[in-house]
Symmetry: C2
Subunit: 260 residues, 2 copies
Amino acid sequence: MVIEKEDKLILLTNDDGLYAAGLKTLLEVMEEFGKVVLVSTTESMSGMSQALTVKTPLRVKLLEETDRHRIYACNGTPTDSVKLAINQLLDRKPDWVVSGINHGANASVSVLYSGTMAAAIEGCLYGIPSVGFSLNNFSPAADFTACRKYIRTVMKIVEKDSLPAGVCLNVNIPKAPKDEIKGIKICRQAKGNWKEEFEKRKDPMGKTYYWLTGVYINHEPDATDTDEWALANNYVSVVPVSVDMTAHWYIEKLKGKFRK
Amino acid sequence: MVIEKEDKLILLTNDDGLYAAGLKTLLEVMEEFGKVVLVSTTESMSGMSQALTVKTPLRVKLLEETDRHRIYACNGTPTDSVKLAINQLLDRKPDWVVSGINHGANASVSVLYSGTMAAAIEGCLYGIPSVGFSLNNFSPAADFTACRKYIRTVMKIVEKDSLPAGVCLNVNIPKAPKDEIKGIKICRQAKGNWKEEFEKRKDPMGKTYYWLTGVYINHEPDATDTDEWALANNYVSVVPVSVDMTAHWYIEKLKGKFRK
């Protein structure tokens, strides 16, 4: 693949690994916009958040090259993949970092645990317009057909106006047939958390171990401006995500407490 | 250890592992406030962010019990440790989640990668007042003496007024002798990112591998209201961190773009 100066260069990754159907769909749609460099893992990296690989060396292998894309396998987290691509694999900064399509929603507080969104956040930290896409369907055999239209709509808006510094987009697509999806809602991250998070079991030696599991609790089921509401009501949710985690509204109040 | 109803119950963790000097210091200071349940790993979990262990079972082992604390070893991430403690090890919700003292600063965008801050964020998601502490000194032999006073000051304020829902604190202490630290500054997260993030090497078989490394770039070195400025000028920085990552200020603008 030759990347010309005028080509849009798109860095693509995900956290479900190179063989995920959602990644294949996103690669196809991104090829409509530009030249794609895909860096991901052979293994799933779900729930890896913004984790970095600090204790083991990273390896990268070119798996496939066509005139529209290059596909690399890497043994790191989604954040490592973005960092490696920008620092070592690409001759210039990509125009976009795009991540997904995740098998499973990343609405509400899942943005904090998601490897998919971590990759978009990493791109954003590099000053690159970045978007993470997720489908509200955990199945490896999920149907991503309905996603294509909404990915195009979102990326055309990013193409036209870019994104402000420090803001990336978290896009979640409902699990619904194409003609039942009602459109796009710009939302805020719903307040919620997880509970009953472990299953306690005994191994064949009689020793206790725990598997992560859990139930999501929406703290504001009646609010209609959240990503959770949008998804539950068959809208595509788009949340602008800030890499600045400061609770700015609380700074002056906190100063007052330390002054006393 | 008997935990009475009137005891303050403190859940303590870190990301440098059970043998870190910073953890020992924080345990000692927390015992001044209440009964402490400590859950951490034998291995370092630096840079694990909010990662969850989803592919392997978790194990927990009680290592030590006194009349003031219980120490558990766990094989998961800092976020796993908090979740396991709240869901499986404790009979009631802890009054505080406290994490650290990290060997190395977690100012600016490091809040996104830090296992120490992830543990505090996790506590906050459970509605528990939570604070992460870090010392701007990576050395395993770092001197944590100066930290004690500031930890007490911060936790007395949390004890008096609690913290608002969805906000935890990111406290960074400068690497300076006790009498050169000028006090506490309430700050915002500095804008910055990392560059030159990998060292490329050849293994004995001649194959390429990469080690994570890098240099932090402060995008606003002249701003005096950031955590980076505070640390560089020998102040303890306290940043209120929001678990809501929505860029609220951008919602209406983004709606406008989708309406066109």
